[in-house]
C-alpha cells in the first residue's frame, strides 16, 4: 500500500513537470500553429538561471537563496521566451515550417551552449533542507519536494484557467485558438497575444526547470530535451490547445510511466508511454485535432 501511495504521489510530481511544459507547448501550438522545439531550451534557461544565481549568492541561508535564485531563473526564462518570439518567430509569421526549423536550431544551440559553458555534466543544486525531508502519508514516506511540485502545477493550472476565462487577453487567446483569422478580421491585433502566450509558455517551462532541479537535485543540459519528448506525448494525448486535457494527460502519462518503471523494470515505463500514445492514436485520432482552449 505504502509503495502505491509513494508511486502515485511521485507520479503526480512528475506529471506536474510534464503539465508545466506541455501547457505552454499546447497553447503556443493552438494559437500560433508553431510546434515549439525550443520549449526544452526555455526549461534549460530557467534551470541554469536558477543554479547559476544560486552559486553567485553567498552568505544567505539556503531557503531564501533558492527562492531568490528561482525567481531570477523564472524571470530570465520568461524574458528569453518573449525575446525569441519577437526576434526569431515574428519575422516568419505564416511560414510554419520555417518557424519550427528555427526553434529546432535554437534548441540545438542552447543545449550546446549550456554544455560548452558549464560542461555536459549534471550540476548539483543546493536545496532547502525541508525539500529533502519526508512526510509520512498512509505509511509511505513522501519526499517533501513532491508536494511543492504538485502544488505549483495546480496553482499554474488554476491561474491559466482564470487567465483564459476571466481576462480580456485570455478571451483573445481562446478566440484565436478557435479561429485566428476571424479574430484578426474583427480588428484585434493577435500578434500581441502571440508574444504573451510565448512569455507565459516560457514562464511555465522555466518553472518546470526549477521544479526539475528540485525533483532531480541537479541541472543538466540534456534534461530539457528529454522532458520535452514526454511533454510532446502529453500534448498529443491531451489534445492540442486544451489546458484541461493537457493536465489530465500529464498525470496519466506520468502515472503509467512510474508504475511500469517500478513493477516491470526501468525503461519499460518509457516504452509503455509510447504504447499508450499508439493506442490513443488508433482508437481516436480525431481527438487529437486542435481543440478550443478550455
Amino acid at each position: 500500500m505504502s509503495t502505491i501511495v509513494l508511486l502515485v504521489i511521485t507520479g503526480f510530481g512528475l506529471g506536474a513537470m510534464y503539465f508545466l511544459i506541455a501547457s505552454g507547448l499546447s497553447l503556443i501550438y493552438g494559437l500560433m500553429g508553431v510546434l515549439n522545439f525550443a520549449h526544452g531550451a526555455f526549461l534549460t534557461v530557467g534551470a541554469y538561471g536558477t543554479w547559476y544565481t544560486e552559486t553567485k549568492l553567498g552568505g544567505i541561508p539556503v531557503a531564501p537563496r533558492f527562492v531568490l535564485a528561482a525567481l531570477v531563473g523564472l524571470a530570465v526564462g520568461t524574458l528569453v521566451a518573449a525575446l525569441v518570439e519577437l526576434v526569431l518567430i515574428r519575422p516568419l509569421y505564416g511560414r510554419h515550417i520555417e518557424q519550427v526549423l528555427v526553434t529546432v536550431g535554437l534548441a540545438l544551440c542552447v543545449t550546446a551552449l549550456a554544455s560548452a559553458i558549464w560542461t555536459s555534466d549534471a550540476q548539483f543544486v543546493s536545496l532547502p533542507r525541508w525539500t529533502s525531508e519526508t512526510t509520512g502519508v498512509v505509511g509511505a514516506s513522501i519526499p517533501n519536494d513532491r508536494w511543492l511540485e504538485i502544488g505549483v502545477a495546480a496553482l499554474v493550472l488554476l491561474a491559466l484557467e482564470a487567465f483564459l476565462r476571466r481576462t480580456r487577453y485570455g478571451l483573445i487567446v481562446r478566440a484565436g485558438v478557435e479561429n485566428r483569422s476571424m479574430v484578426t478580421a474583427l480588428g484585434i491585433d493577435v500578434r500581441r497575444a502571440f508574444t504573451l502566450v510565448f512569455a507565459i509558455g516560457g514562464l511555465a517551462a522555466a518553472l518546470a526547470g526549477v521544479l526539475a532541479a528540485l525533483y532531480f537535485g541537479t541541472v543538466d543540459p540534456q534534461r530539457g530535451t528529454s522532458l520535452l519528448i514526454f511533454a510532446f506525448i502529453v500534448v498529443v494525448i491531451g489534445g492540442l490547445g486544451s489546458i484541461g486535457g493537457t493536465a489530465i494527460a500529464a498525470v496519466v502519462v506520468a502515472l503509467v510511466q512510474q508504475f511500469a518503471n517500478y513493477y516491470a523494470s526501468s525503461g519499460i515505463g518509457d516504452l509503455s508511454v509510447v504504447l499508450l500514445l499508439a493506442i490513443v492514436l488508433l482508437i481516436r485520432p480525431s481527438g487529437l485535432t486542435p481543440a478550443a482552449a478550455t
Binding site: G33, V102, A112, V236, L277, A278
Partner: protein, 344 residues
C-alpha cells in the same frame, strides 16, 4: 547524352577515383586524399549524404515532417550488428534479416503514425523513435551494449571491408550507397506515385478531392525512405565497425533535418550537398575549435566556438532566414517552392 546525365556521371567517376589520388588538399583535409583517415571521413560524408537524401524523400518531396527517421537508421546499425555479434549469424543472412525488419517496422509504425497529419505526425514519430532509443540505452539481454554500444564481430564481415588497409573499399561501399540511394530516389520521385507525393506536399486536400487517397502514397514514401535509411545503417555499421546509441536519439533525426535544410529541401542535389557539408563541418569544426586562433580569443567568443553543435545550429538558423532554399538554390532567383505549409 544530355548535360543532365553527363554531369552527375562525371562527378561519380571522379568520386570513384578518389582513393587512387595521392593529392594533398592543404586546408580542407589533414592528410592526402588516399590516406585512410581522409577516406574514412569522405566515406562518412557520403553515407550521410545518402541518409539525408532518404530524409528528404519524406520531408522535401512528400511534405512529411518526421522526427523519428533515426529509428530506421538505428535498425540498420543495431539489428545487423546484433545478428552478427550476438547471434553469430553470417553477413548476408544478417543483412537480409535487417532489411526485412526495417520494412516491416516501417509499415507498422508508418501505418499508425500516418493516421494523424502535420505536427501530430511529427510528435508521434518522435515518440516511436524515442522508444527505440530507450531500448538501445537499456541494453536488453545485453544485446545493445547500453551507453557504450558494441563493436561488431569483424570475422562475420566480408574480409575486404575490414581493416585500415581496406578503407578504400569502405569508401567505395559508401559511394555505392549514396549513388544507389540517389538513383532509387530519383526514379521514385519521377514515377507516378512520386508525382502524387509531390502533389500531397503541395496540397493534400486537393489530392483527396481528385479521388486519390493520400494515405497509401504517404505510407509508400515512408516505407521507401525508412528502408533506404536501414540500408544506410548497415553501411554505417560496417564503416565504423560498431554501434553506439547516439544514432538512436531524437537529436540524430534533428541533424538529418539540419542537413536537408542547409542543402535545400526538395531539390535534386540539396540533401546530398547538405549531408556532405554538415558531416564535414561536424568533424572539422572540432579541429577549428582546438586551433590556436580560437584558443587566443577571449572566452566569451571561445566557449561557443568550441561546441560544433552550437555553430551548426547557428548556421542552420541563418540558412532558414537568409537562404530559405538552402545551398542548392543559392545564387538563383529566389523561388520558394510553394513550400511545405500544407504539411503543418
Amino acid at each position: 547524352m544530355s548535360k543532365r546525365v553527363l554531369v552527375p556521371l562525371a562527378v561519380i567517376v571522379v568520386l570513384a577515383l578518389v582513393p587512387k589520388l595521392a593529392i594533398d588538399i592543404p586546408v580542407l583535409f589533414k592528410s592526402s586524399l588516399d590516406s585512410p583517415g581522409t577516406l574514412q571521413l569522405l566515406a562518412l560524408m557520403l553515407t550521410f549524404a545518402g541518409l539525408a537524401f532518404t530524409y528528404d524523400l519524406l520531408f522535401g518531396y512528400t511534405g512529411l515532417l518526421s522526427f523519428g527517421h533515426a529509428l530506421y537508421f538505428a535498425v540498420g546499425v543495431y539489428v545487423a550488428g546484433i545478428a552478427m555479434t550476438r547471434w553469430h549469424w553470417s553477413f548476408w543472412p544478417s543483412v537480409v534479416f535487417t532489411a526485412a525488419v526495417g520494412i516491416v517496422l516501417a509499415l507498422l509504425l508508418g501505418a499508425v503514425s500516418l493516421r494523424v497529419g502535420g505536427i501530430a505526425f511529427a510528435m508521434v514519430t518522435l515518440a516511436f523513435a524515442q522508444a527505440g532509443s530507450v531500448l538501445a540505452f537499456k541494453n536488453p539481454y545485453r544485446w545493445t551494449g547500453g551507453e557504450d554500444g558494441f563493436g561488431v564481430d569483424y570475422t562475420k564481415v566480408p574480409s575486404g571491408l575490414v581493416g585500415i588497409l581496406n578503407t578504400k573499399n569502405l569508401y567505395w561501399l559508401a559511394l555505392a550507397y549514396a549513388v544507389g540511394v540517389f538513383l532509387v530516389g530519383r526514379w521514385a520521385i519521377n514515377s507516378s506515385p512520386g508525382r502524387v507525393w509531390q502533389a500531397i506536399r503541395e496540397n493534400e486536400l486537393r489530392v483527396e478531392v481528385l479521388g486519390v487517397r493520400p494515405f497509401q502514397f504517404k505510407l509508400m514514401a515512408f516505407v521507401l525512405a525508412s528502408f533506404l535509411a536501414t540500408v544506410g545503417g548497415i553501411v554505417y555499421l560496417v564503416l565504423l565497425s560498431g554501434a553506439s546509441p547516439g544514432v538512436t536519439t531524437p537529436n540524430f533525426t534533428l541533424t538529418l533535418l539540419v542537413m536537408v535544410v542547409i542543402g535545400g529541401a526538395g531539390s535534386t542535389w540539396g540533401a546530398l550537398v547538405g549531408g556532405v557539408v554538415y558531416t564535414y563541418l561536424d568533424h572539422r569544426l572540432d579541429d577549428v575549435a582546438g586551433s590556436h586562433a580560437v584558443a587566443s580569443l577571449p572566452s566569451v567568443l571561445r566557449t561557443p566556438l568550441q561546441e560544433p553543435l552550437f555553430l551548426l545550429g547557428l548556421i542552420f538558423i541563418l540558412v532558414v532566414y537568409f537562404a530559405p532554399g538552402g545551398l542548392a538554390r543559392l545564387g538563383r532567383i529566389r523561388r520558394r517552392p510553394a513550400a511545405l505549409e500544407e504539411a503543418l
